[in-house]
Symmetry: C2
Subunit: 365 residues, 2 copies
């Protein structure tokens, strides 16, 4: 049985268990996970109609049909022409479904149309039936994550080794430099390259601005991309020439919180407990009110996916769960710091896919 | 009045005319068009709640709030914390709305949640109220499209001038080369760089493969990206050293069809008539069954947006409409060809934003 057929079989069992009659997948990773085919994010609808039983159909625009690699044991293809209405086709295939699960990233415009075309169908998120399967990576997926992580590590090592010029350049320049290095190390796509220097580091989702890096800055560098279908994500913070005493003290707390949270990520532990471990240490260190986000997110074909390492997520870690562990401490107007590895839960304990130096590296500038 | 406040005022008049009570915008270009703020495409919900009357609210994750540039005459910001439920907040703000228009690209997972939270609300596509405004570009937007088009033209000129090595390289290599040149010419992002050589050119949405380009190939190069918020999109077909007689004959038909369709794009003409003009010429030339897609799509902040140049679209062109005119002829297993310019409808007639050589350039290889 192909990998795809195996996955579809497991998803169908989940549909059975949850009472979902049909799965409708468009853009986003669930479709390539189950079929190998990635929908183009365009206004022409691509949608897999996967009933709980019976044949699955990939509804695809005629001019994209040549891109489809057939998987006869998983789906047949139905191409639609420029003046056809693909919603009619999907509604016809899904007719009679009481409960449909629709891909989380599907464009709302298509769901709006399906609500009219299938008035007696109730819609749920597809992730409720796909995530329990997709969040547990198999051996090949973990190998892909490991390779992407190693590539990101090589860029982080260049950063920590002083090979990436910093002082006197803008954040945007440094971000572009990191992006080029991710590509040079084997990524096909850069998803983001955050460079938050000095006070900008205190905004966790700051991307990269025209601010010029200066001696004395802490610089949060958080970057990742996609390599052979799987994502990397790493954060290291470096100090340009030196750092304030409070930051050095805070970093020691952060380092310990991150280490302990990774160590806590053993199979069976609830996701929220991993978050709590990091939070308790940072709170005990006196920086609790400056750790303003969850500890992590799942990673795989998407940068952010299940399982989320956040308060309220009671899900127990299982072998194959892959996720970030990335506590941070942010002092508004002054500096920020974050430390992130990707970790896989295994029956032998947590495996960190990022092994590059975890200390606050002070660059000689 | 700011540009944003002016646009919001016009959208509100459209909401009034169409009986839409509240507009809900998340990822996609409608939000930055009306507020200047672009939502991150992540699992933490960002949503503008814009009632037909009264104050608009941008609901945003706390850790992304520092990215928001306030527009006090357009919206106020409401940040939510990591353990809040943003759907509750949006539902509270939209309470009582009989008809909501939700951003076309909003992730379905959020609409699924809103269907439960707002059970008596009917949902429509936001584009029904925003596109009539956004599809008609103002002077600054046309200037941005013109600049992006000129940058794409410079890359096309390098292609036609033989500056981009072709024979002996893979499509993927040539695609990467074109992408780098788009960036070097001022684009911030490459959206796509299709290189369809030989038989691959017959698949209109072929991207770029490991096929090595050979002497005698026709090569369809269709590329574009985003520059200062607005998109470029151009296609030129080149011949490597020569071309079969039938292809040369077909190209003459294609060239004339594209020229005539551009000339037909005058204010007041229905979009479908521009398509029909190209189609009639290609059909008369004997290639009608090999022109397998619509003639074009609108372009602006998105690569593909209203108005679509397609059979069935009765919309009359108006000043400021910007769109592609890109007929093609595809012979399966042998070759493909496409010729594309971006055109703006103005009261002085159609303005083509791409002016680089429209002939089938035969490269000396």
């Amino acid at each position: 049985m192909s990998t795809f057929a195996d996955r579809v079989g497991r998803v169908r069992r989940e549909m059975e268990a949850q009472g979902v009659d049909v799965l409708l997948l468009s853009v986003g990773p669930d479709l390539p996970y189950l079929t190998g085919y990635e929908a183009m994010p365009l206004e022409r609808l691509t949608m897999l109609v996967l009933p709980r039983q019976g044949e699955a159909t990939l509804v695809v625009p005629r001019l994209e049909a040549p891109r489809v690699v057939e998987q006869p044991d998983v789906f047949t293809t139905q191409a639609w022409n420029e003046t056809d209405d693909p919603i009619d086709i999907v509604a016809g295939l899904a007719k009679g479904a009481a409960v449909a699960a629709i891909g989380d990233h599907t464009w709302a415009r298509f769901l709006v149309d399906l609500l009219t075309a299938l008035p007696s169908t109730t819609f749920r998120r597809a992730s409720t039936v796909v995530s329990p399967i997709r969040s547990r990576k198999d051996v090949a997926e973990i190998a892909a994550l490991r390779a992407a992580g190693a590539a990101a590590d090589r860029v982080a090592r260049q950063l920590q080794g002083g090979e990436i010029p910093m002082v006197g350049r803008t954040e945007a320049d440094v971000s572009a430099d990191i992006s080029r290095r991710l590509l040079a190390e084997g990524h096909q796509r850069v998803n983001f390259a955050i460079v938050g220097s000095g006070p900008n580091g205190a905004s966790p989702h700051h991307s990269a601005s025209a601010r010029v890096l200066e001696r004395g800055d802490l610089v949060v560098c958080d970057f990742g991309g996609r390599m052979n279908g799987y994502c990397s994500d790493i954060t290291r913070t470096v100090a340009l020439g030196g750092a304030p005493a409070e930051a050095i003290e805070a970093y020691a707390v952060l380092r310990e919180a991150q280490r302990a949270a990774v160590a806590a990520a053993v199979v069976g532990t609830p996701c929220e407990e991993v978050d709590a471990v990091a939070r308790r240490i940072i709170t005990a260190g006196g920086f609790g009110d400056r750790f303003i986000h969850r500890t992590g997110h799942g990673i795989g074909m998407e940068e952010h996916e299940d399982p989320y390492i956040v308060s309220g997520n009671h899900l127990a870690l299982a072998p194959g769960h892959a996720f970030s562990v990335e506590p941070g401490i942010y002092t508004p107007g002054q500096w920020g710091m974050r430390l992130e590895d990707i970790v896989v839960a295994t029956s032998d304990g947590p495996e960190s896919l990022n092994t590059v130096d975890h200390d606050l590296v002070v660059l000689d500038v």
